[in-house]
Amino acid sequence: MTINADWYLALGVVLFSIGAFGVLIRRNVLVMFMCVELMLNAANLTFVTFARVLHDIGGQVLVFFVLVVAAAEVVVGLGIVVAIFRRRANATADDLHMMKG
């Protein structure tokens, strides 16, 4: 069975869009983190697809860099969330209103 590479790219676009809308719309910080992960993985899927299309191993190597960075980012993000919400009941972005904007 052969699948056209365009389908993979389209899936990447869909995942990326879901992630982007999620970050902009959802108010729960943890869900926002998950949406960012979705965006990064959409990029990874696109990297791998293009690497296969171009017969270039480079694109697949780039995925590892992105994976490592994504992991580091989540560690720091969760650390910040824990530091902030230790005193609060829930993790909602709307509660963060000490500064306007």
Partner: protein, 544 residues
């Protein structure tokens, strides 16, 4: 199994060729990162022996070592010319070395300012310096990167450390809030940036900048949707990092909430790194498709110039005002990017260099003025500062005038450089917008300067009855009566209680040194601009 078989039968042992690593080309960032790791390990091993001062000492020594290494690099580049090293991942040219020098100096100044801040706020710990050095090494990597994925790595090393630095003052709830806002938007912009890299990779077949440039020059692309989408997403990612309008909404909150030395570091180093990468990617690599991206940069520049200047007028908080002023400065630097000429790049570099001193110096004064818990940050708190502490007021006035672009300061030449570069490429509209916004911006810088030098007569009344304070506090933030009355409230309101009660602020010696260096640089090289202009010009000549 087949590979084993192959190994056994082939006559010669297969060898793996690793790329040659030219360590000189990455020496400053290796020193920076090594210093950060050393300090972190040493501080966890000898936590009881190490004082705050030790952290500052190590950070300063490491910054100076990185600066010296960068000067060696400069010598190497100016004698042997630009080259690409480490399998094409690192560009070792004048542009790279320029950024290394800017970042190393910014790190040195921040270490000096951070020392006083950490002691005052009682959040001592070497982690501040560790994170700042890690962040600086990321910015250096962005300046040196010659591959989109290396730029991404530099961006993340820089940003992740900055997220934590923004949250560093755990005693203030605002600090954590700033960190979370910065983190969510930073992570979002990084993801957009990575997707942009993926699309550019797909369209050109490489993530290496010279190879992309090579591909674009060999293939005439009329309208490649994937490439254009990739370019747009890269620009969005950069736009968030440099805080250009309309991607600026995080910056006022983050500047207000972060510890003041961190805000200065953010404004100087994060912008230096992001602009370095932006210039290298767009001017050098996507130079052949400049017709596609120049209009976007044009729009970003105009919006940043106008929104930054106008909204800064409305701010009561000095740190928020500085945030909008920094958005305004971003507009000016984008002017140089938009031209996509050697002159524009050199003007942008000069702007980044001089702005680094101006903004770190300004935030050093704000750090000192804020007192315990970062309280006295209202513009009205600066009223009568010249009477109380003439030297601090004078230093701040010079830095503000520098940012406003007054003659005989580096700020004037910086603004003149980018505007004349824009005029060179017939960007008259852009030049006019820039000058109008400079005039608007001069107003709020001067307002703060005038506030510092106006008499403090109102303070006595306010101290007598607290009702006065409340009345102005109620009238102030509503601002329904229009801009004029709002402006009056901003400057005429008496200082808050925190300021009137404690009187003079103490200026730690190291912070005073950092402020002094910034002021001296601004004035000396404002009057004798030659060396720095030449430096920026040569850095551009050696641009690969």
């Amino acid at each position: 199994m087949p590979t084993l078989h192959l190994l056994a039968t082939s006559s010669a042992t297969p060898t793996i060729h690793t790329p040659h690593v030219d360590y000189l080309s990455i020496l400053p960032m290796v020193i920076m990162l090594g210093g950060a790791l050393f300090l972190m390990v040493a501080s966890s091993l000898f936590r009881k022996i190490l004082s705050v001062g030790t952290g500052t000492l190590v950070a300063s020594a490491v910054s100076i070592a990185a600066l010296v290494a960068a000067l060696f690099q400069w010598h190497q580049v100016s004698t042997h010319g630009a080259q690409v090293t480490i399998a094409g991942a690192i560009a070792f040219d004048g542009f790279d070395v320029f950024i290394q020098i800017v970042v190393a100096i910014a790190m040195l100044l921040t270490a000096l300012i951070g020392d006083g801040y950490l002691r005052r706020e009682g959040v001592e710990g070497p982690e501040f310096h560790v994170l700042a050095m890690a962040s600086a090494s990321g910015a250096m990597m962005m300046g040196a990167a010659n591959d989109l994925i290396v730029i991404f790595l530099g961006l993340e090393i820089m940003s992740i450390a900055l997220y934590v630095l923004a949250a560093f003052n755990h005693k203030r709830a605002e600090s954590g809030e700033a960190a979370l806002k910065y983190f969510v938007l930073g992570a979002f912009s990084s993801a957009v940036f990575v997707y942009g890299i993926a699309l550019v990779y797909g369209a050109t077949g490489s993530s290496n900048l010279p190879q992309i440039a090579d591909y674009l020059s060999r293939n005439v692309i009329a309208s490649n949707g994937v490439l254009l989408a990739g370019l747009a997403l890269l620009l969005v990612g950069f736009g968030f990092k440099i805080a250009a309008v309309p991607f600026h909404m995080w910056s006022p909150d983050v500047y207000e909430g972060s510890p003041s030395p961190v805000a200065g570091f953010m404004a100087a180093v994060a912008k230096a790194g992001a602009f370095a990468a932006l210039l290298r990617v767009f001017v050098s690599s996507f130079g052949t498709v400049r017709a596609d991206w120049q209009p976007i940069i044009w729009a970003l520049a105009v919006l940043s110039l106008l929104v930054g200047a106008v909204v800064a007028l409305m701010q009561r908080d000095v740190k928020r005002m500085m945030a909008y002023s920094s958005i305004n400065h971003v507009g000016f630097i984008l002017l140089g990017v938009e031209t996509a000429t050697a002159r524009g790049v050199s003007a942008s570099l000069y702007y980044v260099f001089t702005y680094m001193f101006l903004v770190i110096g300004s935030f050093a004064v704000i750090t000192v003025m804020a007192r315990d818990g970062d309280t006295g940050n209202q513009i009205s708190d600066y009223r009568g500062l010249a009477r109380r502490q003439p030297l601090v007021a004078l230093a701040f006035a010079v830095l503000l005038l520098g940012q406003a672009g007054a003659p005989f300061t580096t700020g004037f030449l910086a603004k003149f450089g980018v505007v004349s570069a824009a005029v060179d490429t017939h960007g008259y509209v852009l030049a006019v917008v820039a000058m109008v916004s400079a005039a608007i911006a001069a107003f709020f810088y001067l307002r703060l300067a005038v506030t510092m030098y106006s008499p403090v007569g109102l303070v006595g009344n306010a101290a007598d009855d607290g009702g006065d304070d409340e009345a102005s506090a109620v009238a102030g933030p509503v601002g329904g009566d229009g801009a004029v009355s709002n402006l009056q409230v901003l400057t005429d309101a008496p200082p808050t209680e925190a300021v009137t009660e404690r009187g003079l602020v103490t200026v730690p010696g190291l912070t005073a040194l950092a402020i002094g260096v910034s002021v001296a640089f601004t004035l000396v090289f404002g009057i004798f601009p030659g060396p720095i202009l030449d430096f920026a010009h040569q850095a551009t000549l050696l641009f690969t």
